[in-house]
């Protein structure tokens, strides 16, 4: 019996009559790197929203970890504290803080009000931040304001924040958007190196990138799982081909 890090069963979510997620069942092993693809409006980001507590499902359960903690009853920061980190589709960093501070705020550790009042940056923490910044290639920019970074650099910074958090489950939404091919490849390598120690869900459009990183791919369509399997299996699946090529894209 394998341990699932994430179990979603019978999940439904409707926005003003639009079924964003319908009867979704999703299982993920510990340490797995899963790639989720699907056309626009397939419910990929909504799925991440439901996992991270940004929105609540109308029905269904989402359970996390060995204790099978029910995520739908928790709010964003409680879910984060369980060890679920998320990188957003558009890079979201603290624009008025320096790169250093951005990582510092994301470091694992106490999140309380009063501990924040008396917290000091320890040398160990400082060293860790430097390491992370080196990993994501922002060592030079350590004192720059995050708002002054280029789009790709913001992506990297957000990945760095994810690393600092040391989360058990990483949710990565379109990490390669706005990156050069070289950077994309580097992102792929980074994600691959993290897999195993961490469980990772990657949402991606770029099939080259998907090929690079994916072991198991889940295809979402109209809020439900169309098929799961290796990249080749998925790419040869007739229904997937129909969804991607045979019909017009659904816009939201």
């Amino acid at each position: 019996m394998k341990n699932f890090i994430l179990t979603a069963e019978g999940v439904n979510k409707t926005f003003d009559g639009f079924k964003a997620i319908s009867d979704l069942n999703f299982y993920m092993d510990e340490g797995e790197l899963r790639t989720v693809i699907g056309p626009n409006g397939a419910g990929k980001t909504t799925f991440l929203d439901l996992i991270t507590g940004r929105s609540k499902p109308d029905a269904g359960t989402i359970q996390f970890g060995r204790e099978s903690t029910e995520l739908t009853k928790l709010n964003e920061y409680q879910i984060y504290r369980l060890g679920i980190g998320r990188k957003f589709q558009t890079p979201t960093v603290y624009v008025d803080h320096t790169v250093f501070e951005n990582i510092l705020l994301s470091m694992e550790g106490s999140r309380g009000v009063f501990s924040a009042l008396f917290a000091r940056v320890t040398p160990a923490q400082r060293e860790r931040i430097h390491d992370i910044l080196k990993t994501v290639g922002l060592g030079e920019k350590i004192d720059a304001k995050a708002g002054s970074l280029a789009h790709g650099q913001k992506q990297w910074l957000e990945i760095g924040m994810l690393l600092a958090q040391n989360a058990k489950l990483l949710l990565v939404d379109e990490p390669a958007a706005g990156m050069t091919d070289e950077e994309t490849a580097k992102t792929g390598e980074l994600l691959l190196s993290l897999a195993g120690r961490h469980s990772i869900i990657v949402i991606e459009h770029d099939m080259v990138f998907v090929r690079q990183i994916a072991k198991k791919v889940t295809v979402l369509h109209q809020g439900t799982i169309l098929c799961e399997g290796s990249v080749d299996e998925v790419q040869n699946n007739e229904r997937v081909i129909e969804v991607y090529l045979g019909r017009k894209h659904h816009h939201n």
């Binding site: 926005f15 003003d16 964003a20 626009n40 409006g41 980001t45 909504t46 929203d49 940004r54 957003f88 589709q89 558009t90 816009h251 939201n252």
Partner: protein, 593 residues
């Protein structure tokens, strides 16, 4: 510039009006005067006869006079009851002439005498008017029986008054007197009366008189009758009856009081609901504009209240122009060469009257919309368009504008409240089962319904509405599709401000207009928008009516407007705990897509 043009217009207008008036007057005189005059002579003759006769004949003549509803009869009989009719014996032989003395006295305290038989001054043979001292003349003799007969005639006259309110007042007065003698008069009137309200008043009056009966069973019958009639005005009388020695009377009186009190609280409740709905309608019109601008542009317009004031002052202005004219002068706070520069304008009044004056409000309504919309347009172009992505800053900047506008109102219209005279067709009210429904409030409700329907049509059925909704849903996409979003913003903002102006026009009919008029409504309308859910018109309607009614009901419950208002505020805060994004939250998927 204004002055010259206005003056021309005025004189032209004046001349026309004058001609029309004169013509109408002449026509009226030639048509009617003759007929009236002959009737009047007959009446006067009857009066003189009644005064000079005596005994049963006099009684008969008096009761005949009761059918003649003319002012002369009324005034003369009234003077009679006050002993102000004098008999003047002519020098040449015995004929007694009844006269009234004029109120105006000359230097010696004497006054001219008006003959009752022809309404002219009493004169001697040579035609010189005679002056009398009241003590020189003989007062007409009266006795108790005669007095009461005259009084009864007067009452009957009053009961036949063409104005139903006047009739009702007399009926109530007669009933309150609890004098049996009025019973036949009231019964007689009941046969002729057509108005339901007056009929009910007569029933109440008869029952009230019977309540004064010594016989307990008659009393109880009267009490039951009052209870059946739900007569709120009889509560005091019934209370007195409840204190009666007779146990049966007291018991039935208490039962009647209980039943009427139940009815009274129902009446109050519905009256409160009615006021609540009318307040809610105003809030609705104000909040609708706010909801549209906020929903569209994410901008809280703190100067929205001043748009209300612009609408209300436009009403005042139009009313002044139809009346005596409007003048203002602003003096600059510095002086050049010894005198302070300033500017001002005088817009002469039309001095309209009658139906024409009454129509001013019909001109004022669209104009208040236009003026507020123009102000909104200017505000959007000069300030708000630079602050679209900064909601908090726009809130602050519009507050700055609001301060400036308030002070401008003070400079132009004065710091004190001004009163806008309502057209007559908005005054008054009608009563539905004792619930008083003011015409002005009914008008507001009706108009709010029209505005909501109009707004809905505008948003759903017009090209502009389509653009507005497109920009509301996805600004960037709309811009990509070639929608000129800046233009849509501008028009929407103007429209929202115009709605506030309309609300101001209504408010001017309900209360006074002052520079800070808008301030007293702005917090409520913000609350309405927040509770309703931003950018949601249906939510806005529910929350406006809900807050308006809750406000009035809680005022009633706590007996204090302030405590009521505070309770509403607390309720709103608690409500937001339950539904943080309002009644009808538009779901946001801002992260996706």
């Amino acid at each position: 510039m204004c002055k010259g043009g206005g003056a021309n217009l005025r004189s032209l207008f004046h001349a026309t009006m004058l001609k029309t008036k004169l013509a109408a007057l002449l026509l009226f005189c030639s048509f009617v005067c003759g007929a009236v005059a002959s009737d009047e002579t007959v009446t006067r003759q009857k009066l003189v006869q009644a005064i000079l006769s005596s005994g049963d004949e006099q009684q008969k003549l008096l009761s005949e006079l009761a059918d003649d509803n003319s002012k002369i009869v009324h005034d003369t009989l009234l003077s009679w009851t006050r002993d102000e009719i004098y008999l003047c014996e002519t020098a040449n032989g015995g004929a007694k002439i009844p006269v009234l003395l004029e109120e105006q006295q000359d230097a010696e305290g004497k006054a001219r005498a008006i003959r009752i038989d022809d309404g002219k001054y009493l004169a001697d043979e040579k035609g010189a008017e005679l002056h009398f001292d009241s003590s020189d003349l003989n007062t007409l003799d009266t006795d108790m029986r005669l007095r009461s007969a005259v009084q009864q005639t007067l009452d009957l006259l009053a009961l036949a008054d063409p104005n139903r309110d006047a009739r009702r007042d007399v009926v109530q007065k007669l009933g309150k007197s609890q004098k049996k003698q009025y019973l036949p008069v009231l019964q007689a009137r009941l046969g002729k009366e057509t108005d339901a309200g007056v009929k009910k008043a007569i029933f109440v009056a008869v029952a009230t008189i019977n309540l004064g009966d010594a016989d307990p069973s008659a009393k109880i019958a009267a009490i039951n009758q009052l209870a059946k009639l739900n007569s709120i005005g009889s509560l005091d009388d019934l209370q007195r009856a409840a204190n009666s020695q007779n146990a049966d009377v007291a018991k039935s009186a208490e039962a009647a009081i209980k039943s009427i009190n139940g009815y009274l609280s129902a009446v109050n409740f519905f009256g409160t609901i009615f006021r609540g709905i009318s307040l809610g309608s105003i809030l609705l019109v104000v909040a609708l504009g706010l909801a549209i601008t906020f929903g569209l542009m994410g901008i809280i317009n703190m100067a929205h209240g001043e748009m209300i004031a612009i609408g209300a002052y436009t009403c005042y202005f139009v009313e002044s122009v139809f009346g005596t004219g409007f003048t203002f002068r602003i003096v600059m706070p510095f002086s050049i060469g010894g005198h302070a520069p300033g500017f001002g304008a005088t817009i002469p009044g039309l001095h309209a009257s009658g139906w024409f004056y009454e129509t001013y409000f019909l001109f004022a309504i669209p104009l208040s919309f236009v003026m507020a919309a123009l102000a909104g347009l200017a505000l959007e172009r000069t300030v708000i368009q630079f602050l679209y992505r900064r909601p908090l800053e726009s809130l602050l900047a519009t507050w700055g504008v609001s301060l400036i506008l308030q002070q401008c109102f003070r400079l132009v219209f004065g710091a004190n409240n001004v009163q806008v005279n309502s057209p007559r067709w908005l005054l008054g009210n009608f009563t539905l089962n004792d619930v008083i429904l003011g015409y002005n409030r009914l008008f507001v409700i009706a108009f709010a319904v029209l505005i909501v329907i109009g707004t809905w049509l505008l948003l759903t059925k017009t090209p502009l509405g389509l653009l507005i909704r497109a920009v509301m849903q996805n600004r960037n996409m709309a811009a990509c599709m070639g929608v000129r979003t800046a233009r849509v913003n501008m028009l929407t903002f103007a429209f929202g401000s115009g709605l506030a102006g309309l609300a101001g026009a209504f408010l001017s009919q309900i209360g006074n207009v002052g520079p800070s008029l808008g301030q007293s409504y702005i917090v409520d309308s913000f609350m309405t928008v927040v509770v309703g859910g931003v950018g949601n018109i249906v939510g806005c309607i529910y929350s406006a009516l809900g807050i308006g009614t809750a406000d009035q009901v809680l005022q009633q419950v706590f007996g204090s407007p302030v405590v009521g208002k505070i309770t509403v505020l607390i309720c709103i805060i608690l409500f937001l705990q339950w539904k943080p994004s309002g009644l009808f939250a538009a779901r946001s998927r801002s992260l996706e897509g």
